[in-house]
Symmetry: C2
Subunit: 118 residues, 2 copies
DNA sequence: TCGTGGTTACAAAAAGGTGCGTAATTTACT
DNA sequence: AGTAAATTACGCACCTTTTTGTAACCACGA
């Protein structure tokens, strides 16, 4: 984690939430405690390296907690923090906005165009 | 723009909003019509390549409109669409969440730690 | 030997920066 | 008058940086 000190809070949140995984992981953790392997099953296309990396980022951001238990095989549990839980409805709202906005307002892949005033 | 067709709407919104610029550009466009050069002034560290690229993405997503005027020097204006305007409060909410959550709950740079149950 | 939750090194892919070219008109200089 | 330069919003090619994937290795115990 390098430079979280920027001007505006929006820039800072986006540094944490940007990318494919952060919001998805939060989404899966909504359902309660998950282990590393659970999250991999939930999302089979993430590599284990990415998963550890993203989980650390969320941990550092105060969104998830990581709890490591003694004994073998190793067991580690991930949960949303209270702050993480408060974040869930905001992410949901983005998803709803996207659905409401609908494909009709978006450009069909392949057929880009530009409004020209002549 | 490659593959916007995925399972979940959250994954799709994040494909558009991820990165440093999209939310910032939306933020600046909140204030009303902006030209290309205005946006570069608002945000001096973005390269022209990135700015055009990001603006196209937002246009394709139905968040901004691009209006090109005849005459020289060229003039192009960017505005938020109604959908873009509806998005603004959602982004604001993320920024507020970040501020409320506060640095105290986040890990100080350089001093990472892990909860260990022994 | 397998399963868990990692780490590390190396390789591939994606993102991003820099600089040049372009359009048609105005302004600036000689 | 004639030429040169600046202007705006890009596209394109080349190159560097960052991100992500792959594979191998570790610990330990059943």
């Amino acid at each position: 984690m390098k430079n979280l000190v920027s001007q505006c809070p929006i820039e800072e949140v986006m540094q944490v939430l940007s990318g494919r995984w952060p919001t998805l992981l939060i989404y899966y953790l909504k359902d309660g405690t998950k282990r590393f392997s659970d999250l991999r099953r939930d999302n089979p296309t993430i590599s284990h390296k990415m998963l550890t990396f993203e989980l650390r980022k969320l941990e550092d951001a105060g969104i998830v907690t990581r709890t490591e238990f003694e004994g073998y095989p190793l067991r580690v549990e991930y949960d949303l923090t209270p702050a993480g839980l408060r974040l869930v409805p905001l992410i949901d709202a983005l998803g709803e906005w996207w659905e409401e906005t609908g494909d009709s307002e978006r450009v069909d892949a392949g057929a880009l165009q530009t409004t020209s005033v002549e």
